[in-house]
Symmetry: C2
Subunit: 172 residues, 2 copies
């Protein structure tokens, strides 16, 4: 694969849970070549340099995969804004929730397409790929359910705000 192809495959196949930019990939490829973890051809047509993993590269991959999972500090911009909901302009909270729905719907549509592609294959590789896919589906569905709950909560909030004396749901 070329560096360019590495990036395509990452965004197409791991896109919903991983990301690498060219600024990471090309220097990494050079370092890996120097370390003997990949072999690269000279420049071919279109300046392409095809890289191939070596035995030591595969060993290094296994080493890295065996390292403990790093859980980076969370930063969820939607929740941060929602937390400060009382400082938001009217309707802004609802917009945030609507955007979350749109993102989750889009994600689910993408996952459905991949599902259709990979179904029928029962190799171990596909089993593992299906697990990562399923994670995305579960989380996206959870986000949709949560968003619906939020919409209801925002309805209640608006109702009580415009009609402070009434108990919510008691009509008016």
């Amino acid at each position: 694969m070329t560096g360019y192809e590495v990036r395509s495959v990452i965004s197409e196949t791991l896109g919903h849970f991983w990301h690498e930019s060219f600024g990471q990939i090309y220097p990494a490829l050079q370092a890996l070549e120097e370390a003997g973890h990949v072999r690269r051809t000279g420049r071919g047509p279109g300046s392409r340099r095809v890289a191939e993993i070596t035995a030591s590269g595969r060993a290094r991959l296994r080493e890295l995969l065996a390292e403990p999972v790093a859980t980076p500090p969370p930063r969820n911009g939607t929740l941060l804004r929602l937390f400060f909901g009382t400082e938001l302009a009217p309707g802004a909270a609802r917009t945030l929730v609507d955007e979350a729905v749109r993102r989750a719907d889009e994600a689910l549509a993408g996952f459905a397409a991949v599902r259709a592609e990979v179904s029928g294959d029962d190799s171990p590789e596909q089993a593992f790929r299906t697990m990562t896919l399923s994670y995305g589906e579960h989380v996206a569905r959870a986000q949709l359910a949560w968003a619906q709950e939020c919409r209801d909560a925002l309805d209640t909030l608006e109702a009580t705000a415009s009609d402070p004396k009434e108990a919510p749901g008691a009509g008016g």
Copy 2:
């Protein structure tokens, strides 16, 4: 609040979706003071410098909260390792899933404690706080359901690997 307290409140209240380190907080507090967005007392007992938000600070907060939500490129270490499941040592995939279960269980326990604390209050602030809490709960439950699915898939994978001729679930 002191910078130290800001950090405590962030990790206690927003901990499941946001994080700030001292290296961010203290320089930020200085910049905010210079910009007139916070007012700070001189050094009190224990060297504490108490900061308070100003009107312009609150305006700035609203400005920042109105900015579009940035969605950083995803990087999920667990899924990355699982994707390369065939390169993993035997049992490593299961360990990853088990760890995910432990993390989700811990998170849910923490959420339950907060739920108990904030229940009964129906102020707008609490409504928004409950939304962020509920997000954590929905996602954590989705992760648990996913993990159970993964365990089943790993069982099937191990069964077919040790007994390649048998159809999965046909007994033997």
